[in-house]
Symmetry: C3
Subunit: 191 residues, 3 copies
C-alpha cells in the first residue's frame, strides 16, 4: 500500500512538472511576441501563375492591358517615377493567349536613377473553377536580381486571411511594351 | 496494494498519452506553416462606418475631400488610370453631415478598360472617444459585384497589429463627384 | 491499499481537469478568431534607421533620391495630391553621408487640404552584413503628431513573414528639398 502511494505520487509530480512546462511554453508564446519556427520550405499552399503586361502604346487599345498614368521624370535615365496602372491577365503556362485563370490589378512604378528597378502593389483576382477570391501583394521588384520576393499581405474568399511570399522572375521582356513575370506564390498562413 | 499500483500506472499511461497528443499538436502547428480553422463568421471585432468621397471639381474646395492627381488615359472609356487622393470623412450612419468618427486617407485609381473597376489603398484614422488608432487597408474594388472584400493588413493604437477583412458596398453614387461606401469592418486578429 | 487507490484517483481527476483546461484553451484560440495578449512593449526585434529624402529640384540629379511624379492640386494650400517616388538611403545615425545600411523604395503623397499630412507605402531593402531582405510598410503619416505609427505588413529574407510597427518621427525638415525621418522599427512577429 505504501509503495502504491509512493509510486503514484512520483508519477503525479512528473505530470505536474510536464503540465507546467506545457502551460508555460504556451503562455509565453501568447504573452510575448510570436517567434515561431515557420518553415520557409513548407508553404501550406503553393502554385505558379504567369503575369502578362502589355503596355498601351496609344493606338492598340484592343490588346493593351496597362497604361502609363504618370510619366518618367528627368531624374536619371531609367524611367524614374513612371507609374503604370494594370489589369493584366494571369495564365497557368507562359502563353499570353492561354485561358486566363485570373487578373492582376494594381500598379507599379520605376524608382531608381542608375538602373531599372520597380515597386509593385496589386491584387490577384481569381474567378476560376479552382479558386475564387483575391490575394493582396506589395513589395520591391529589385530587377537586377534573378528572383525577387514580394509579400502577400492578405487575402479574401478562398484565400481568406492568407499571408505569404510571391517570388517573381522575369520570364521575358520584349521591348518597351510587353513583359512577362513568372509568379511563384507560396502561402504560409492558410485558414 | 497490487491493485492500487496497477490502477495508478494505468492512469499514468493515459496521462502520458494525452500529454504527448497535446505536445505533438502544439509543436506541429509551430513547426509547420499555420493552417488554422479561423471562423469567417466570428470576427473578434466588427463595426460599420460610412465613407463619403466628394471629388474636387475645381471650384468647391470648401466641400471637396478628394482630388484627381493623374488623369484618365485613353485606354477604354471607364477612366482607366485616373488616380484620386482622398482625405474623406467616415460617419456611423449614412449622412454626410453626421459627426465624423474618423478619416479615410489614401488613394484609388480606376483600372479596367471595359467597365468601371478600381483599386484602393488607404488608412482609416480614428480619433474619437471610442477608438484611437489606425487600420491599414488595400485591395481590389470589383465594382460590378454588390459587395467586395478588401484586406485589413495592419493596425496601430487601439487596433495594434490587427488583421481582417473590410466588406465594401456602394451605398450611393451621385454623378461624377459624390459617392458613399458602406464599410463593414471585420477583424480576425485582435491583440 | 484503499488509501493508495483513493489518493491516485484524486490526483488522476486533477490531472484530467488540468488537461481539459489546457486543451480547451488551445482549441478555443484555434477555432475562434485570435485574441492574443501580444505585448506592445516586447517586440521580438527592434532597431532604428534614419531615412533621408532629397527631392529632385530639376538640376541636382547627382544628389537627389526622390522626384515628384504628380503635381499638387489646387485643393487647399498644403500640396494636396503631390506624389513623390523615392529610392532613399537609410543610415544608422542621422548623418546623410554615413554609409547606408539599405534603401527605402516607395512613394508618398500629401493628402490634406488644411495642413501638411501624408501617406506612405514603401519597402526597406537591406543588403548589409547585418541584414539581407526586405520589410514592407504602409500607413498614414499624421504629420501634426510628434510620432506616427505605420504598419509593417510583411517581410522577406532575414525578415521572412515579419509583421510589426514602425514609429516615425521627423528628425529635420530643411525647406522643400530635404527631410529626415527617424524610423523605430519594432517587429512583433518574427520567424
Amino acid at each position: 500500500m505504501m509503495r502504491g502511494d509512493h509510486t503514484s505520487q512520483k508519477l503525479a509530480f512528473s505530470f505536474i512538472l510536464l503540465l507546467i512546462i506545457v502551460l508555460a511554453s504556451s503562455s509565453q508564446s501568447a504573452l510575448a511576441s510570436k517567434k515561431l519556427p515557420l518553415n520557409e520550405k513548407s508553404p501550406c499552399k503553393r502554385f505558379v501563375v504567369y503575369y502578362h503586361d502589355t503596355l498601351f502604346n496609344g493606338t492598340d487599345a484592343a490588346n493593351a492591358t496597362s497604361a502609363t498614368v504618370a510619366n518618367k521624370t528627368r531624374l536619371g535615365d531609367f524611367n524614374f517615377g513612371m507609374l503604370v496602372v494594370f489589369d493584366d491577365p494571369m495564365t497557368k503556362d507562359n502563353h499570353l493567349l492561354s485561358p486566363p485563370v485570373g487578373r492582376a490589378q494594381g500598379f507599379f512604378f520605376y524608382d531608381k536613377k542608375n538602373e531599372y528597378n520597380a515597386w509593385f502593389a496589386f491584387t490577384l483576382v481569381f474567378n476560376s473553377s479552382e479558386y475564387k477570391g483575391t490575394l493582396n501583394i506589395m513589395g520591391a521588384d529589385l530587377m537586377p536580381q534573378k528572383t525577387r520576393d514580394l509579400s502577400v499581405v492578405g487575402g479574401t474568399g478562398d484565400f481568406f486571411m492568407a499571408r505569404g511570399i510571391v517570388t517573381i522572375e522575369t520570364d521575358t521582356l520584349q521591348g518597351d511594351f510587353y513583359f512577362r513575370l513568372k509568379m511563384d506564390i507560396k502561402l504560409y498562413e492558410c485558414y
